[in-house]
């Protein structure tokens, strides 16, 4: 129970500081909305042919989500190191609880972004969804994997020099399988049909990231 209380405390603290400073919120939301507007102005509902809509537009949605996450989430640990608060956190919290709390914050932030971005994207691109439940599954599982991987890499990057360049170099290879599966699931939601096993593979990939993160994070976090 103590572990869960620690996770909750980190989650609540991160949201409280974020709602007051709005570093990640502003960065992620501004990046996502401006990219969405650029894409919609360039392509619009008529910019993509009916034959290629199902295959193309889910890719664009996930690329926007990926880069929005990359713009805002690395700060979750960089801020702790630069603000010199990491030492107090190391002295008081279990590393796995810090990781889980940060992941919960990142996933909640991404789900919030998806709630804002996805309806706008569907409306501006004129994309219709055949299976809404499948879209929700894709978005939730995608956010879970994207948030977890981003937090794990952010923890590594925060310890290093050249932080800005390192995050995409380290995180994107880790995220490619996740994005391919999330795109496939989103295509299935648009088309109303899906090859079997895609949601299960995405769930397994997420679970692997979480387990790997819980095992690796103490090594990264402790001196």
């Amino acid at each position: 129970m103590w572990w869960f209380r620690q996770v909750r405390a980190v989650f609540v603290k991160d949201w409280r500081t974020e709602l007051r400073t709005r570093h990640a919120l502003h960065t992620i939301a501004l990046f996502a909305v401006s990219t969405l507007l650029t894409v919609s102005l360039a392509l619009g509902p008529a910019g993509v042919s009916a034959e290629t809509r199902t295959s193309t537009l889910p890719v664009i949605l996930w690329i926007i989500l990926l880069f929005a996450a990359a713009a805002g989430l690395p700060r979750c640990f960089v801020a702790e190191e630069e603000g010199h608060t990491a030492a107090a956190l190391r002295l008081t919290a279990a590393p796995s609880a810090v990781f889980a709390g940060k992941c919960a914050f990142a996933v909640a932030l991404l789900v919030g972004l998806e709630l804002l971005l996805t309806p706008l994207f569907l409306a501006l691109m004129g994309l219709e969804i055949a299976d809404a439940a499948m879209l929700v599954t894709a978005l939730v599982l995608g956010a879970l994997g994207l948030g977890t991987a981003s937090v794990l890499v952010a923890a590594m990057v925060a310890q290093a020099r050249g932080r800005g360049a390192l995050f995409p170099v380290l995180s994107f290879p880790l995220l490619i399988p996740l994005l391919l599966l999330a795109v496939e699931l989103t295509r299935g939601a648009v088309a109303g049909s899906l090859p079997p096993g895609v949601a299960e593979q995405l769930l397994l990939y997420d679970a692997s990231l979480i387990v790997a993160g819980l095992m690796l994070f103490p090594v990264i976090w402790n001196p």
Partner: protein, 231 residues
Amino acid sequence: MILPREGNCSRTSQPARYTAAVSTSSFRFDQLTYSYGPRRVLDRVAGTTESGEMLLIEGSNGSGKSTLIRCLAGLQRPQAGSIQWIDQGRELDDVARRRGVGWVGPDLSFYEALSAAENLDFFARLRGLAEDPAVEILERLGVPPQRLVGALSSGMLQRLRWSFALQHRPGMLLLDEPFQNLDSAGEDATRALLRQHLEAGGMAIVASPIDLGLASGRRLVLDPTRSGGGA
């Protein structure tokens, strides 16, 4: 930390009664070595302290005092040597040692967007403290609990560091320049807290480049030009 609700609680001129986690303990480190790249700042350093005792670490700027304190707190891993904390016959592992110390240091910071009370409440939750002593400690040290940490003066920030260090009744206080930026009232209050901690059977290791006027039979002088300091 347990601060009795009765008695003096009128800010810094009347420091709080403090009760450390009373136990028979010893804390010793031996052959500690630490280098930043090619520059060796700690070279086979050794020291020891026991319940109710204080070890003073002295040395000029750059002699490795802060590095030693961080190593003892478990925030940096020495490249060689051992650290041993035996509490009531049981040796504490690295995790227990990290959670059991109270650390005050110039590089200890808090969340600037949160108030002093919110910061201490957060760390109380992480430490699993059943009661939340945060506001009481802050009031006794004269820190405005609702003021954002980003708006605290350097002296108030130092008092907040003390509150953080004492919050969980640590058996060992690791104090790196503990009275810096404090006014006379703040220094009196924190000196009283340190004295009460020792009287209650706690241990302390205090590092400073200047003589703090603390009475202790144990003294370790770090000299960057000499290796193998010991106390």
